[in-house]
Amino acid sequence: MLAALAGVPWTLAAQRGVPPAQSKGLPRAESRGPAPGASRIQFADVTARAGIGFVHKSGATPEKRMFETFGSGVAWIDYDNDGFQDLFFVNGVPGSPNALYHNNHDGTFTDVTARAGVEGSGAPGSPAAAAAKTGAAVGDFDNDGYLDLYVTALGPNTLYRNNHDGTFSDVTASAGVGGPPTEWSTSTGFLDFDRDGDLDLYVANYLDYRVADNPYCGQAKEGYRMYCHPTMFDGVADRLYRNEGNGTFTDISKQAGIANPAGKGLGVAFCDYDRDGWTDIYVANDTVRNFLYHNTGKGTFVDEAYRAAVGFDLNGRPQAGMGTDCADVDGPSTRQADNGLPEIFVTNFSEELNTLYENRGDGLFEDVSAKAGLGSGFLPLGFGTKLFDADNDGDLDIHVTNGHVIDNVTLYRPTLSYAQKDLLYENLGGGRFRDVTAEAGAALQATRVGRGLAVADFDNDGLLDVAISSLNQPAVLLRNTGARAGNWIMIRAKGRKSNAFGLGATVTIETSEGRQVREINNVASYLSSNDIRLHVGLGAAKIIQRIEVAWPGGTKQVLTNVAVNQILVIDEP
């Protein structure tokens, strides 16, 4: 339909009847724009005002069981298709309830967990009740137009199918995606790796860890016991489940070539790094090299980490990878440095730089972390992260939430701290960054034990907001209150031959400011899932001259002269 109407400036509400671009009655207590001397990127903590009362529970004990310190994720999911992103928090300690908050369209949320049936506490005595829950993925696995939810755990994972009435059903058993009951799964995401029109499922696995076999680590002095180094445990191979299109999945990890037992996966990101049309997978592993699974297009993957030089840091050492994302940070293409290809960003342990691998375009990446201006990430221990355009100036900024894994770290290293500040980097253009954390508002001066982080425009005002899940602490919702440096567009893809939300589609946007190549993809960060719509900052462009959508089903669709500052629904022809 849209192709036929190409050339017509698109206005959201008129064409598709989806909600207006901004929520009504949104509180405006935060002033828009920066104070003098501050960054134009500003965030305000609106958690309390929004009615988000979720508090993560880790179940921390003096035994320092490993799962207690890795936290849980957060996911944005418009589960009722009302055009506003709802918010789901995973809870940690076995038996603790997850939380689903419905977006009321006025800046507030309502806890609908019990009605929705996604508590995930498990029936007493069941394996689910003993599961320590970790990550969340959002995707429409049955292509019914409603987003489903997958929750990972140290223990059985859970697939919740959306019933279209505000409730979900646990279909894990019939779908066959529960995984072994002792496996420690972490970050996860839906992708259509074989481009057959339905969403497959990737699950990263961490350590071969048994609660009953928990070694003592740290000094043997009272109060000095610490969480063990991951070297004390073996890794566990990740899993890839192929969607059979009938509500069931098949575990094809081994045949697909992603079942590497060396992995200690914590973060997962999907992107087509060589733009061959097939979604690739990047896995951030903890203390062992990272994996870059190149999709061969034949149902298999080849780990190209050695060839592409994305497995290690600049010195050839493995790092403690936590969260990750993959997107083009040196765009738009009018800038000399940009080749339109996605870079890879990984958050790492304290006293390791967060790593930015620049995509050189010849199959090789270069570690440019230090020269990109990311040096302030050396001391903090990074977890959740997202590359997104926080100020709509047309390039991607970086948010990292931090927090150490060793709660008594100051006993060992007085210069380090358990709770830490987030890091916010403004992209100065061409993939060169400036740390603007100190200037970005009071909300970013708070310390937390940050773990999951997910980005979405929850109030549909064209600026991306941030939700953070902190270990054993209240969750935080950060509303983006910065000054818009430019216009924007938000694209909600509706697949027909492709999967229903267009995951994996490549979108090329051309304006007077240049060309941006982006992907529709909600999988990145740590244990978390982002807005499934594609947000693109447009800078000073007043109109989008051309949008090209390369759908995973193979169709190419072109729209021209598209109006800015709207949420655009694009139907696959």
Partner: protein, 336 residues
């Protein structure tokens, strides 16, 4: 990681990107294998070469195994995890590479994971029954798992298969000492040391056994010999200090002990069990020397330090009580 290694890795990668070597992969693997098994001065180059091979063939089980060996030889803790990963990937790609299980077991033992080491060695022995190398290492795993009888049994099996296999004798000696068969243990360990094995642990174990047996002159000679093998091992200095103390050479003991003072560095090092044990042994010996020299305050401080590490430490508790008794006795009207 030494700074030179970084430079070498980076330089080698740049060179490789400019012009990839054209020799066939198998030939390159054999060259690296020969180097890894015969010398340690080209580790950085070997690592780079193996990474290049894996860039060309990510599923080469041999390359993953050799990279694991290179990382293990490098010896840093951060690379041990990576070495285990490489070994596990190698085994996953080619389960017939039974020697990988041996390398894995050795790493697990280094990390104090004797149970996992035993699993790997059991699996290896199921593939190649009676292999003396696997049996010897299994003996050591059993010893670390506090099964000295079983350790003696399997190390003897290893020696039966190959009587000249020195590691089996070394592990047998350790097991005998653990099983309180001191004289037999000493005899076996003397054979190892006499054969000139460049293993500091053999000298340490034998020297300590001599001290226990009251043979302080032999202990001093053996431990001094051990320090010629590895002068940086604090355990040898601590054991030698103990030998001097046993002979009444308290000043010499004090000086020797200071050479063995563990250096606290990064958090990971200081939290390692072996490091903690050395620190504990150091303070215990310090307390003993100070006590015998009549330096009661210093002795008390040292014993308290031991009790910080291990609140129920029997010897430290006993000796601290003795120190306190003497301190009370020194006070006017203190002892009754």
């Amino acid at each position: 990681m030494p700074a030179g290694f970084r430079t070498l890795v980076c330089a080698a990668f740049v060179a490789w990107q400019a012009a990839a070597p054209s020799a066939p992969i198998q030939e390159r693997l054999e060259r690296v294998r020969a180097e890894l098994y015969s010398r340690t001065d080209r580790l950085a180059e070997n690592v780079t070469e193996l990474k290049q091979i894996l860039a060309l063939d990510p599923r080469s089980a041999d390359a993953h195994m050799l990279l694991g060996i290179a990382y293990s030889t490098w010896g840093s803790k951060e690379l041990k995890g990576e070495a285990i990963g490489e070994f596990r990937q190698a085994l996953d790609l080619n389960p017939r590479l039974v020697e990988v299980r041996f390398f894995l077991a050795r790493l697990y033992l280094d990390l104090g994971r004797a149970g996992r080491a035993r699993e790997e060695l059991d699996a290896a022995l199921a593939q190649t029954p009676g292999n003396p190398e696997f049996l010897a290492l299994l003996g050591e795993a059993e010893r670390q798992l506090k099964n000295p009888r079983r350790a003696i049994e399997v190390t003897r099996q290893a020696l039966q298969a190959d009587p000249s296999f020195a590691p089996a004798r070394f592990y047998l000696a350790l097991a005998l000492l653990d099983a309180s068969q001191r004289d037999e243990g000493i005899k076996e360990m003397e054979q190892v040391v006499r054969a000139g094995a460049p293993v500091a642990d053999a000298y340490l174990a034998l020297g300590s056994a001599y001290v226990e047996a009251g043979r302080t002159a032999d202990a001093i000679a053996t431990l001094s010999q051990g320090l010629r093998v590895d002068a940086l091992r604090p355990e040898l200095h601590i054991a030698l200090a103990r030998a001097y103390r046993s002979k009444g050479l308290l000043e010499k003991a004090d000086a020797e002990l200071m050479l063995g003072k563990p250096k606290r560095s990064a958090m990971s090092d200081s939290s390692d069990y072996p490091y903690q044990q050395v620190e504990l042994d150091f303070y215990l010996e310090r307390g003993m020397i100070k006590l015998q020299r009549g330096q009661l305050a210093a002795a008390a401080e040292a014993f308290k330090k031991v009790l910080e590490f291990e609140p129920a430490h029997e010897a430290a508790t006993r000796e601290l009580a003795e120190v306190n008794r003497r301190l009370r006795a020194k006070k006017p009207g203190g002892a009754r």
